[in-house]
């Protein structure tokens, strides 16, 4: 068979049923074969969004998802999505077309060195030069993307290679001598960690996004409950501990809540589980000598990178948590510590919005009231992200966002991917009017492929978070942050044939949100937010 055909066989062998992409000349042999399979192809309206949609899909299924683009500009457009997935450890296999092998390096039409360009943002990449390597390369790519610290793997396939004839057999096993991803924690370090936890009066778990990629959410809850240790979360870890658990104290960091930040600055032992603690997460954390830090991560390079660590444990979270559950006995009395943390909790009342607007926090809380428990909420980047992260409750639901890279335009394509991965779950994208205009072409994708995602556009006519920065750090000189000239978003939704509503007063919120959730088709709400609304109130 041809390599193009073999590529589709590889995808089928990996259980791939849905792929996201955008065709072009150099990838056409593969597309021609894709048409002969049962694999569903979702045509996005910009390659980067194919990458983000695959990211949303992968974060729900936990398995590598596939994004496809052609050579040159198509592949280059994917880079931001690849980097976004890399920063958030999302498993993804990216397939790009490449110009003919014998033309590589001659600057021919639509040629780009994509393996070179994407190198800093991929877990690994292949330029498939020898047709007979196809099966082995695909097997390895899926294995690398979906094990260890998850991440994107790129396979670049020249046009002539796609058309070459090969004998095809998909390998059953894979063995890469330089890649041994799964491991238990070092027994000695487990003992040290157990001793530190036993001696601790004020232990605290910091839950990170690795709990989701490592399928360790349930075990972490079990460990927290068994040991009665309070939990705070990074933005990527939101939802790992249910919001309604009495042991949960919220999100830490620059935009985190008082309870979580105080907890981190008061605890005597901090247990990081799958949290790489990016700079924003530990922005409010004070350096202290009297703190014992236990850091569990599958990637040794993250341990000690951003935070000094006393007890490093490298390993698979499920395995390490299993070891810790055995090593740490329950029954400690933590009432004094929990009472102290409870005293940090605060419930900030929501200020009423001026006439003609809704308060974005109140809007998210209202959305939250009606969303089913297992809903998936995808927040974009900017003020909308913080409003959503701070006001959504997650008791079985998921919160997805571009936490590491902070890529605007992530929410709608990622929501489309998430909805396709979990059709029975309600999926809502929340974005601002800035980020929406980076992705609004994807409304067509939702319509064409009948993906009933719901979209909330928080319209304040500003790039609000940058504006706040300019108010604070640039003497209120507002530069290039006004979004004057934006279209009417409800009319735009009309143009796509998408049901919609403008919500510009609190008394319209409940009915509009109920309408949005009950619709079985794509639906858009434009929420009018006062122009100078702050991120944190």
């Amino acid at each position: 068979m041809t390599v193009a055909k073999a590529m589709t066989e590889c995808l089928a062998a990996e259980g791939i049923t849905t792929v996201f992409g955008y065709p072009g000349a150099a990838i056409c042999p593969f597309y021609d074969e894709l048409e002969n399979t049962d694999i569903r192809h979702i045509l996005v309206r910009h390659e980067v969004n194919g990458g983000h949609a695959a990211s949303g899909y992968a974060r729900i299924t936990g398995k590598p998802a596939v994004a496809i683009a052609t050579s040159g500009p198509g592949a280059l457009n994917l880079i931001t999505a690849i980097a976004t997935a890399y920063m958030d450890s999302v498993p993804m296999v990216v397939i790009t077309g490449q110009v003919n092998s014998d033309q590589i390096g001659r600057d021919v039409f639509q040629e780009a060195d994509i393996t070179g360009s994407a190198e800093p943002f991929v877990k690994h990449s292949y330029l498939l030069k020898r047709p007979e390597d196809t099966a082995e390369v695909f097997k390895r790519a899926f294995y690398i993307a979906g094990t260890g610290r998850r991440g994107p793997v790129l396979i670049d396939v020249p046009f002539d290679v796609q058309k070459a004839e090969i004998d095809f057999e998909y390998p059953e096993t894979v063995d890469i001598r330089s890649y041994r991803p799964s491991s238990t924690g070092n027994g000695n370090q487990i003992k040290r960690a157990a001793a530190a936890i036993a001696a601790s009066k004020k232990p605290l778990i910091l839950a990170g996004g690795g709990l989701f990629t490592g399928n360790a959410v349930e075990l972490m809850r079990k460990f927290a409950e068994h040991t009665d240790i309070p939990v705070v979360s990074t933005m990527m870890g939101l939802g790992a501990m249910p919001t309604n658990s009495p042991l949960f104290y919220g999100m830490l960091g620059m935009h985190g809540c008082k309870a979580a930040n105080n907890a981190v600055n008061t605890c005597d032992t901090l247990i990081l589980l799958g949290a790489r603690v990016g700079d924003r997460a530990i922005a409010t954390m004070k350096q202290r000598d009297d703190l014992t830090v236990i850091h569990v991560d599958i990637d040794p390079a993250e341990i000690g990178k951003n935070l000094d660590v006393d007890i490093p444990i490298v390993g698979d979270l499920t395995l390490v948590l299993g070891q810790l559950l055995e090593a740490v006995s329950g029954g400690a009395d933590r009432s004094e510590w929990k009472n102290k943390l409870d005293s940090f909790r605060e419930d900030k009342p929501v200020e009423p919005a001026p006439a003609g607007y809704v308060n974005p926090k109140q809007f998210i809380r209202t959305l939250d009231k009606y969303l089913p428990d297992d809903a998936v909420v995808v927040a974009d980047v900017g003020q909308n992200q913080i409003w959503t992260a701070a006001n959504i409750t997650l008791n079985g639901g998921r919160f997805l966002t571009s936490g590491g890279m902070g890529t605007m335009g992530y929410s709608l394509p990622a929501a489309i991917g998430a909805k396709l991965a979990a059709p029975s779950r309600e999926v809502v994208a929340v974005c601002g009017d800035g980020s929406f205009q980076m992705q609004m072409m994807e409304l067509a994708t939702a319509v064409q492929h009948n993906v009933p995602v719901k979209v909330i556009v928080m319209r304040n006519n500003y790039l609000g978070m940058v504006r706040e920065l300019q108010e604070r750090a640039y003497d209120n000189r507002l530069t290039a942050v006004s979004l004057d000239g934006s279209p009417c978003f409800t009319k735009l939704a009309d143009a796509y044939g998408i049901q919609n509503e403008l919500v510009d007063s609190p008394d319209k919120m409940d009915a509009a949100i109920q309408q949005l959730i009950s619709s079985d088709r794509p639906y858009l709400i434009e929420a009018a937010v006062e122009e100078y609304e702050k991120t944190i109130l």
Partner: protein, 163 residues
């Protein structure tokens, strides 16, 4: 502080670019780099001398280990490893100066690789410091060109860095 790192990698096209790119984008400075195949033709060895703190060295080792094509990473310590560079130095040399330069080369355990009417090329393999000294010794004669390799290194005794 200087660190000598011995890295065993799969002998594929593009591996050197991945390793060198990693150093560049993570802000690790490379002083020298030497690449060659090992006794196993599927495995190459990259020997890197890099500058940085203990934190930097730890990050270098960890980030190198994350590259799929990297098989093994080992930092060698100067007091427990033999380190060598090779230099070719072309110096101005009139016929009258030949005997003098040949004796300098002999004392340093160098070798005369080429001679012309007014120049001499001397090759020498030694530690970086000894090569520096040798270069200074020849400078008064007029150095026309210097070509130096990167450092290669091997642990002393029976210890090995191999797959």
């Amino acid at each position: 502080m200087k660190h000598t790192i011995s890295v065993l990698v799969e002998n594929h096209a593009g591996v050197l670019a991945r390793v060198a790119g990693l150093f560049a984008r993570r802000g690790f400075n490379i002083d020298s780099l030497a690449v060659g195949v090992t006794d196993d033709e599927k495995v190459s060895r990259i020997t890197i001398v890099a500058d940085g703190s203990a934190y930097t060295l730890e990050q270098i080792e960890k980030q190198l280990n994350k590259l799929i094509d990297v098989i093994k990473v080992k930092t060698l310590h100067n007091d427990t490893a033999v380190t060598r560079e090779l230099v070719l130095i072309k110096v101005s040399c009139t016929p009258k100066q030949r005997a003098e330069l040949i004796s300098i080369a002999e004392i340093a355990k160098g070798k005369i690789s080429d001679i012309s009417t007014n120049s001499m090329t001397i090759e020498l393999s030694d530690s970086k410091q000894n090569l520096d000294n040798f270069e200074e010794l020849l400078r008064p004669y007029g150095i026309k060109e210097v070509v130096r390799t990167g450092t290669i290194a091997m642990q002393k005794g029976e210890a090995t860095v191999r797959v």
